[in-house]
Structures are given as structure tokens and as C-alpha cells.
């Protein structure tokens, strides 16, 4: 049966391995090197400068500005998205009417491209033609904010769109988890006189904890990225109020031709994502509940 198996294995593996090594592994490894160089892309070989880029990063106000916005998103978006996702998932598993319709509807933004969503919400937030402000004026707000044009509101306005898009996905994830919890658990608790909230806090949430942890890691990784939505809606503005590391990196590399420095920013982002994932998994680890 396994005679001449290499005549199958080699042609089956070769194209994938080749593509993967050339277009994925090599760029990742090369990035580690480029981050230690000064390079404007004109010479074939970057000039090695050791840790210079990383030292420069520490004194770069624009880097800290962008990082600060990622941190704000990191602290807010996962909490809001997970709470709302859990809440909706909980409501939808209470035997409500139209549950199927809600589930299909809430998930849809996940399927749309982030760019299309960004454009759509730029319309919604638009000061004159947008529905948000005309609604606010209708209910008596005299001067509603210019959401994306005002440095004080732009960051939150973009964040809200991200929540709007992703809540449905996490809701579906949580519903799947909730549905796998045996009903006998609830029945026993109800006999003991537990209310809905008791059931949620003492049965659903603990048994769903592993899914919530996974969601937390996804959302953290997403909050360190944010490129497509910010690039579409504000391009990092106004006056860099929504600049995030990814948009700053893109600008530094492809508009400023500072490839060494940009790659150093990329490496620092990667280290952040890696550290965050490990820390989150450690901190949220509990004894896994068997059922």
C-alpha cells in the first residue's frame, strides 16, 4: 500500500510548501532582519543599525500617539463587544419569537467587507447628510458633534462601528456554547428556585468561560490591528486623533519610504499581540469545567 508513496507525497506537498516558504516564511523572517536596519528601499541591501529603530520608537511622539489609541481600543472594545454579545446570546436562548431572524440579521455585518462598512458609516456620521445627526437634532440636540471630524469624538465613533460589526459574530459563538450546556443543569437549578440571572451567572457564564477567553484573544488581536476600518473612515485623522499603529506603520513604510523603521513598528506590534495572547490566556485560566 505504501510502495512508492513519495511519488504522491512530493508532488502533493511541493507546490504548497514552495508558495508558503517563499511568500510567507521568508517575508516574516526577513522582517526580523529589516527591523534592525535603516532602509529607504533604494539600495538592495539595507544598512544594519542594530537597535536604533527601537530606540527611536521610544522617542517618537507619533508612535506613542498611535499606540495610545490601540490601548484605548484594547481596553474598551473587547469588554463592550463581549458583554453585548453575551447579552444578546442570552436573550436569544430564552425561547423568544423570531430568534432565527435575529440571529441571521445580527450576524450579517460580519460578512460585509470592513471597507464597505466604513464607507456606510461615514455616511451615517456625516454632519449634513448623515441620519445620526438629523436624528439627534430631531430629538432636540442643538449642535450635534461632527463625529469623524472632531478629534474628541472620532476615536469613539470608529470604535462603535467595530462593535456594531463584530457583536453578531460573538453572539453566534456564545449561542453555540450555550446550546451545548445540558438542559438538566438548568432544570435542577430552577427546581431549587434560581432566577434567570442566577442561571446566567452561576451556570451559563462559568460553563461558557472557555469560549469567552477565546473571544477575548480574538478581540485583543483585532484591537491591535484596526487598519482597514481606520484607513477607510478617517485615514488616522483628524489631526491623528484616530491614528493606530497599523495606519502609522503603513504611512511610514509606503508613503514615507522608511522601511526599516516601519518594520520595527511591525515587530513591536507582533510582540504586543504575542504577549497579550499569552497573558490573557494565563490570567483568565481557570480549572476547566467538565460536563
Amino acid at each position: 500500500m505504501y510502495r512508492n508513496k513519495y511519488r504522491l507525497i512530493i508532488p502533493f506537498l511541493f507546490p504548497s510548501v514552495l508558495l508558503y516558504v517563499v511568500f510567507v516564511m521568508y517575508p516574516y523572517l526577513r522582517a526580523m532582519y529589516i527591523s534592525f536596519t535603516r532602509w529607504r528601499g533604494l539600495t538592495p541591501n539595507p544598512e544594519f543599525v542594530g537597535l536604533e529603530n527601537f530606540a527611536r520608537m521610544l522617542q517618537d511622539e507619533l508612535f506613542w500617539n498611535a499606540l495610545q489609541h490601540n490601548v484605548i481600543y484594547l481596553l474598551t472594545l473587547p469588554i463592550v463587544t463581549i458583554s453585548l454579545g453575551l447579552f444578546l446570546a442570552f436573550l436569544l436562548t430564552q425561547g423568544v419569537r423570531f430568534a432565527k431572524f435575529y440571529r441571521v440579521t445580527f450576524f450579517f455585518p460580519q460578512v460585509m467587507s470592513v471597507v464597505a462598512i466604513g464607507v456606510l458609516w461615514s455616511f451615517v456620521y456625516h454632519p449634513t447628510m448623515g441620519i445620526l445627526n438629523s436624528l439627534l437634532m430631531l430629538v432636540g440636540v442643538q449642535e450635534p458633534p461632527v463625529w469623524l471630524g472632531n478629534p474628541d469624538t472620532a476615536l469613539g465613533a470608529v470604535g462603535a462601528v467595530v462593535v456594531w460589526q463584530s457583536v453578531g459574530f460573538y453572539m453566534v459563538l456564545f449561542i453555540a456554547g450555550m446550546e451545548s450546556i445540558p438542559n438538566t443543569f438548568y432544570e435542577a437549578a430552577v427546581i431549587d428556585g434560581a432566577t434567570r440571572w442566577h442561571l446566567f451567572w452561576h451556570i451559563t457564564l462559568p460553563l461558557l468561560w472557555d469560549t469567552v477567553r477565546t473571544a477575548l484573544v480574538f478581540l485583543a488581536i483585532g484591537a491591535v490591528d484596526m487598519f482597514a476600518i481606520v484607513q477607510t473612515m478617517t485615514e488616522g485623522g483628524p489631526s491623528r486623533a484616530t491614528d493606530v499603529l497599523a495606519t502609522y506603520l503603513y504611512e511610514t513604510a509606503f508613503l514615507g519610504s522608511k522601511f526599516g523603521y516601519a518594520t520595527a513598528i511591525a515587530v513591536s506590534m507582533f510582540l504586543m499581540v504575542l504577549t497579550l495572547s499569552v497573558v490573557l490566556m494565563r490570567v483568565t485560566a481557570r480549572e476547566s469545567l467538565e460536563y
Binding site: L8, V24, V111, V114, E179, S180
Partner: protein, 298 residues
Amino acid sequence: MTTETLPQPAPAAAPRHQASTSLGGWLTRALINLFLGLWALVVIFPMVWLVYTSFKTDQEIFFNPWSLPTSLQWDNFVRAWVSAHIGDYFLNSLIVVLPSLVLILLLGSMAAYVLARFPFPGNRVIFYLFLSGMLFPVFLALVPLFFLVKNLGMLNSYVGLILVYVAYSLPFSVFFLTGFFKTLPSELHEAGIIDGANQYQVFFLIMLPLAQPGLVSIGIFNFLGMWNQYILPLVLMSDPARYLLTQGLAYMLHQQYYMNDWSGLFAAVTMVMVPTLITYVIFQGQIQKGITVGALKG
């Protein structure tokens, strides 16, 4: 393995445990419905508004944001499709995404099949090599990838972008499909060989058809990922004639400051969104499963 670990819906999933005849129960129920309805409105209304606004004139859009169009401006769609090149962007996206999808399904399942079912020295090394690709965020590769593609003479080429799309879809696809191929019974393999099939026939005629549910999941996951991809084309496709749909949309939005054709832009986004919506409504069950399973395994 992959199918077994899926959460099985319990027979009576929803805990309908409380009597809802009492006043308190009724009130809770009303609140639940109110909240769900409200969120549905927040999700749906912007899209409905987008669609009917795309039929309005610029005047109407600016002075009466909420009102329905007085007459349908089909011309908005013509302008967006032709003058603003949405039609071209659509075509470009198809030219890149469809071959990428075929290639990733074919190459991914071939690699996964071999890794799942044939022990050979280096098998694990290659598997973990693929796996490690999931650890790295794409922006880490951007700069070297740009220069690599440039040096290969493939900047602004469809082929270049296709190869990159396939390469970056490999880690997850191989990982997912390896799990899938492991679940297929090896008796089928042996039976096929005994019946005189060669190894290739076993793969293409027996194993691949059996892996269909896995291929569908991974196909949906990759299609959406590639269709909605933004950063890779942005870096590798700088020729406006070859912009993909996402790039074209972003470009149009940022051009508004000079062009002032809002109704055309509304029409453009509508044309991008509506096909997605229709496809989603038809295949929503598989799509939800494809993405959530995909993400969980990632």
C-alpha cells in the same frame, strides 16, 4: 475530529423554564423583545437607508437625509458602475479571488491529505511550519512582501496577488483540512487500492468527495477573507486600473472631496452590499458555521 468537536445543539436548547403568564414574566418578555428589536433596527436600518438613498439626487441627500426618493435615479448606478469603475473593480476582484479559491482548495487539500495520512520523515516539521503561519499577523510581512513581489516583477499583477492570497490562506486551510482528513476511515483507502485504484485515484475519487463538508467550510471562510481583503491589494496593487473592489470603494470615498458625487457613491456601496446580502441570506446557515468553526479552530 473537526465535526465531532462542534457543539451539538441540545434537543431542547432554550431553557424555557419560567412561567411567562405572570405580570413579571410578561414584562421581562416585553423588555427582551424590545431590546432585540432595537438592536435589529440598529443593524438593519443603516443598510436600508443606504439602499433607498442611492436612488436619490444629491440635492435630496443633503437636504432631506431621511426622506424617500421622489423619483428613482437609476442614473446613479450607471455612473457608479461605468464612470466610477465599480464594474471594473468587481471584475478585478473576481479575476483574483476565483482562481485563488480554486487553488487554495486544491493545493490545501493535497498538502493536508498527505500530512494527515502518510507518515514520513519531516511530516511533523512541515505541519508545524504551516501551523506557525497562524501566529504571525500579516502586517509584520508587509514590507518584505512588497519588495519580494516587486523583485519577482509581480507588483500590479493578478498572478502575483493570487499567489500571495493562496500562500496566506495555506496555514489555516492546511491545519483545518488535516484535521478533517484524519477522520476519514483508512479502510476506504485500502479498499480502493485493492480494487486497483492508484494513489491519485484514491485521493481524487474517494477522499476528496468525502472531504466535501470540510472543503465547503474552508471555501466559505477563504472566499469571504479574500473578497474582503484590503491590506494586501492596497500594498501590492497600486495601479488604479487593477484595483480590487475594496480598494476601489475606499478610493472613491477618499476622492469625494474633489468629486462630489455622493449619490454615485451611495449607489456604489449599494451595489457592493446587495449581492453580499443576497448570498448571505441564501447560504446563511453554512456561512455562519463556516466562519465560526473557522475562527474557533484558528
